[in-house]
Symmetry: C2
Subunit: 399 residues, 2 copies
């Protein structure tokens, strides 16, 4: 594995770059471009929010056409959401102006936006910047693209993985942004994430992999229970690795799917690590539920409990808040049979509390909560962060 | 109306008091007693949490027997929740020792506890205190009872109301505690609230009034979306006013129900005003939903959005977070048709944002959010608070 490298080797045939178009108030990078020299099969998963930003609708339409894709342009600093007919035109214009500069078709360029809701995109700035953006592709770095999609994130999120498929080296490179408005209950995806791979894979197999790997990985994280209007996860595969095209079944598909899931989960965990104001990385496992969906709901109820998250911020082994959050979900839970373990230390077992005299390892940065309901085989694991003064500060002052 | 008086005139035939039994670490009051000189009809609504504290189970059993009730004993500082068979015995012992001291039957004394989960009640302290508690009834004050049930609350919550029924003066007096772990999605009730009335009313009519007035009033508030294990709202009616017994239909029932609802809503709003760390009182109205349940879900989704609550703390008119929270709920919402109004100022209308240049009245303590979906006649109003540094501090340090 080759995670977290910032010397990210792009998969064959891809280029990436990021520049500042002054969409943000600061001079930070805010416009990213991912480009493939040859046509890609593409698949994506998007927010289940009833209010979808204009670029999300455009991506859904482009991917729905099942035609090849060549590029993704993404901006930070403005979400182009609830911006009416003008917003729809602006998303399309972004796609068209990049396509024209690249010499490809508009329907070959996907678009994403992230930032504040309800303000029109500064289209003059974007159109002026597009030629610079395209020219930055030569010598461009994936890290710059990763930086250009950030909002309140504090570090760029990149995951790279190489696998062997039929004797050919296949590379995955993913970038993501997260930080706030990260939530569960999405039917499909959350935040912005783009995975590029040079694997050759059938369209059908890539769709299958997207729904099996992208959705579940990113849905396993929750920061504040707030579902965004712009969440997007897209994978592009250009086939430049030269492997025999991967089908939707069999061992080769499995190898591909496992690798993709690892890349996505690595990005997802980076998002949690960089959650707004987070001082802890919290892993919550629920086992023994009646089924996986129940386990997931229970784990997310704990993960989204403000009282639990504040207790973790204070390194307080207040497991009663875990219990209250579990009980709030309709489930087969019988509390007398349940176990709760905090960082390896049982705090509730055999229907009885086990006295905890000190915060112990809860003072560290990693918290593992293990819950066993002893009712069935349902299992889920979710990742979250604590709720700190800093989260409140960031979100009281964001604009 | 006679709300918020601390010179609370108790309804005829009732006594109330509160003392310190040293259940809390401090010397604050922590043991309350409400007592009627004659038998009462009683009704209650309780938490929908799958994990219910021992006293909640005991109250449900006592009320289920439909026999008269004489008293309620309640302690703060310990929730007697997830305390196993010993906790069940302790709840029963609390009831029995008060009953014995009062000279009534154990099944005539209801019990509540609020505080930390998973610790056994200090029964020695409680049993030692019970004779003092009962003797404190003569000359006891409702305000002391109201203080003795508080946990992180900063003020005692009392609402008193007098109405006229068939020429007789009927009095309601209610006390409540709230502050944290206040949430929606309860089938029945939330936090601790006790309403005493000297009205004569049939058992069936009181049950109906409890489910029509207690549940909805207290379910209209949410502070942190965290559903407690101990939520309880109980009404006792002793008939001392001498009115002809109120039945479950007709005008007299309506007058009773309206007054009861007013008392409950007044207590509920006091709980929001005293929410942990709150700097704002926020009223969210959703109209034009397809039905009332949908309106309630949409309003609660906004009320429980951490991003929205932080924006309010920062007096930031960031209505995009309201929209994102609305969209997160499955509903008939069509954002292009929706209106959003903040403190009387439209910020989104006719599918377009209306530029907001300053925080304006959001800097004040009261925030009114009005949302109109224009899809139907569904209406709901909920009350909540903002999310502040102080909320995090209180809940990181609570123990």
């Amino acid at each position: 594995m080759n995670f977290k490298t910032h010397q990210a080797a792009l998969p064959l045939g891809f280029k990436a770059c990021g520049i500042s178009a002054r969409i943000k108030k600061s001079s930070k990078l805010d416009l990213a471009l991912l480009y493939s020299e040859t046509p890609c099969v593409a698949a994506g998963v998007f927010t289940a929010n009833r209010i979808k930003a204009a670029p999300v609708d455009l991506c859904i339409r482009i991917l729905g056409s099942k035609r090849p894709v060549r590029a993704i342009i993404a901006n930070s600093g403005n979400a182009n959401c609830m911006t009416g007919a003008q917003g729809v035109r602006d998303a399309f214009d972004m796609s068209r102006s990049v396509a024209s500069e690249l010499g490809v078709k508009p329907h070959e360029v996907l678009v994403s936006s992230t930032g504040i809701i309800g303000r029109l995109l500064p289209m003059e700035k974007i159109k002026t910047a597009v030629p610079y953006l395209v020219s930055a592709l030569s010598g461009g770095k994936l890290k710059d693209a990763a930086e250009a999609i950030l909002t309140t994130d504090t570090f760029a999120k990149i995951a790279v993985k190489k696998i062997n498929i039929g004797g050919r080296a296949v590379t995955f490179a993913g970038i993501a942004k997260g930080a706030g408005m990260i939530a569960p209950n999405m039917k499909h995806a959350t935040m912005l994430a783009y995975i590029l791979t040079d694997a050759a894979i059938s369209r059908y197999a890539l769709d299958k992999a997207a729904s099996e790997c992208l959705g579940p990985s990113f849905n396993a994280i929750t920061i504040d229970g707030c579902m965004s209007t712009n969440d997007t996860a897209i994978i592009l595969a250009n086939g430049a690795a030269g492997n025999r095209a991967i089908g939707s079944t069999g061992n080769v598909y499995k190898v591909f799917a496992v690798a993709l899931k690892e890349v996505c989960l690595e990005l997802a965990k980076m998002i949690v690590r960089d959650a707004e104001g987070a001082t802890k990385f919290i892993e919550i496992s629920v086992r023994g539920a009646r089924n996986g969906i129940e386990a997931d709901r229970l784990a997310k109820s704990v993960a989204n409990s403000n009282l639990f998250k504040c207790a973790m911020f204070g390194s307080d082994p207040n497991w009663g808040r875990i219990a209250a959050a579990l009980g709030a979900v309709p489930s087969g839970l019988v509390w007398q049979k349940m176990d709760i373990v905090l960082n390896g230390r049982p705090v509730f077992r055999n229907g009885r509390p086990i006295a905890v005299k000190d915060a112990g390892s809860l003072k560290g940065r990693l918290v593992e909560v293990e819950i066993n309901l002893r009712q069935g085989a349902g299992f889920a694991r979710v990742y979250t962060s604590d709720l700190s003064y800093e989260y409140v500060r960031i979100n009281a002052e964001y604009n």
